[in-house]
């Protein structure tokens, strides 16, 4: 027992000496024992190299952020691609809104250089918002479905009744547009979903437009008309996609025999 106590005491003492006396002295000696491995010029060169490398890494990081943002934008339009796999689209950002435009028209930052053509459909993840009415090298102007200049072939999903989407100032102020040229007895009701018909080859088929918010009779023609509430809040969009190609583009419907 005495021997074990002595051994234990020796272990404690030796551990104490090693940890608190020898090791600090060894570390101190080691720090002064190794001479500096690099000269001042070498260190300056290494700092310069590391700074340059840091700059390259920052650029790559910035590009990564851009790619991530673009992926996020493209992911939003994935549903459109799922519904119509032949659709080719490019994403764009709203760069300006003309103060003289009464129908929420805007300009996008993609133009002829990016493959944008006149009359190309403009969509968001929620549906159709308009078409390209003017193209320059790096930008394009969009006329929305609120405008009387718009004439989008549309069909009521439930009944198959066809009509034309065209806007007016009074409806545009309410964030609505109208569907005209509906057949009498079409049986459309509030809540029906309206999509593009694809006739004329200007807009792809089955692009969502909105829902019918009310049905009324035109005062002059006595034909049924529908007030359409677009799915997208067109007055406040900040980005959109331009459809550059799709199956059936520029194809006119065959005449029935």
């Amino acid at each position: 027992m005495i021997i074990s106590l002595i051994s234990a005491g020796n272990g404690y003492v030796s551990g104490f000496i090693e940890s608190y006396i020898l090791m600090p002295v060894q570390q101190l000696a080691g720090g002064y024992a190794d001479p500096p491995q690099k000269s001042r010029e070498e260190l300056e060169a290494e700092v310069s190299r590391l700074s340059e490398e840091n700059g390259h890494l920052r650029e790559e990081l910035t590009e990564q952020y851009d790619i991530m943002a673009e992926n996020e934008e493209l992911r939003k339009f994935f549903n459109i691609k799922k519904q119509n796999s032949s659709v080719s689209l490019i994403t764009a950002s709203v760069i300006s809104r003309d103060p003289n435009d009464d129908f929420c028209g805007f300009a996008l930052d993609k133009g002829a250089f990016d493959g944008v053509e006149l009359n190309a459909p403009v969509v968001t993840e929620k549906g159709l918002v308009g078409f390209v009415s003017g193209v320059s090298m790096r930008s394009c102007r969009v006329t929305t479905i609120f405008s009387p200049d718009a004439a989008v072939g549309a069909v009521v999903k439930r009944t198959g009744s066809g009509g034309v989407i065209s806007g007016s100032a009074a409806l545009s102020d309410k964030g609505r547009t109208s569907m005209k040229n509906l057949p009498s007895g079409s049986g459309i009701t509030e809540g029906d979903i309206v999509v593009t018909s694809g006739y004329g080859g200007i807009f792809p088929k089955n692009l969502q437009i909105g829902r019918i918010s009310s049905v009324y009779t035109d005062a002059f023609t006595s034909m049924p008309m529908a007030e359409i509430e677009p799915y997208e809040d067109i007055g406040s969009i900040v980005s959109a996609a331009i459809i550059t190609d799709f199956s059936g583009k520029d194809e006119l419907p065959l005449k029935e025999k």
Binding site: D98, P99, A169, D173, V238
Partner: protein, 168 residues
């Protein structure tokens, strides 16, 4: 500190560019009932109140061309109408009126009403759009007042430039 005439014109040029950019921003700078201020018109009229005929025409043409390009892509309406309006404005203040804020604002408002009413006639009535009265009362009249609100800002800038004008 005196400002030479060339420096003043350079600043006016940047002022016109800034007005065009600000009026077209996706988020509105100045808006009443959903109608935006046409800052280019306010800037051109304010410059015309302080400058002689030739510089007024030049700056009006600059604002007009840029407005036409941003609006429709075709140079036309604003290039002509704004040039004529600014020429008349410059004549009035060179020969008849004193350059005071109230006077400039009153004459500018008259010019704004004329310019925007002509725009309404050309771009809406002649195109055959329906709801003409609705567009004029709900869009154009607020736009006129909204544009008038921007005139004192440009007047202030021109007043500062003109009061520090040098000999040449």
């Amino acid at each position: 500190m005196t400002v030479s005439r060339q420096t003043r014109w350079l600043i006016c040029g940047f002022e016109c560019l800034a007005a065009i950019i600000l009026q077209s921003l996706p988020c509105p700078v100045l808006e009443i009932f959903g109608s935006r201020s046409v800052l280019a018109v306010a800037a051109a009229l304010s410059i015309a109140a302080f400058e002689s005929e030739v510089p007024s025409i030049i700056f009006a043409a600059l604002c007009g061309v840029l407005s036409d390009i941003s609006c429709s892509g075709m140079i036309g309406f604003y290039s002509v109408v704004l040039t004529v309006a600014c020429y008349c404005m410059s004549l009035l203040f060179e020969n008849f009126f004193k350059r005071r804020l109230f006077t400039v604002a009153a004459v500018s408002f008259a010019a704004i009403v004329i310019v925007l009413t002509m725009q309404f006639i050309v771009f809406h009535l002649m195109r055959g759009y329906s709801d003409g009265w609705h567009i004029f009362t709900n869009h154009y009249i607020p736009r006129m007042f909204c544009t008038l609100l921007a005139v004192p800002v440009f007047y202030g800038l021109e007043y500062i430039l003109f009061s520090h004008a040098g000999a040449g």
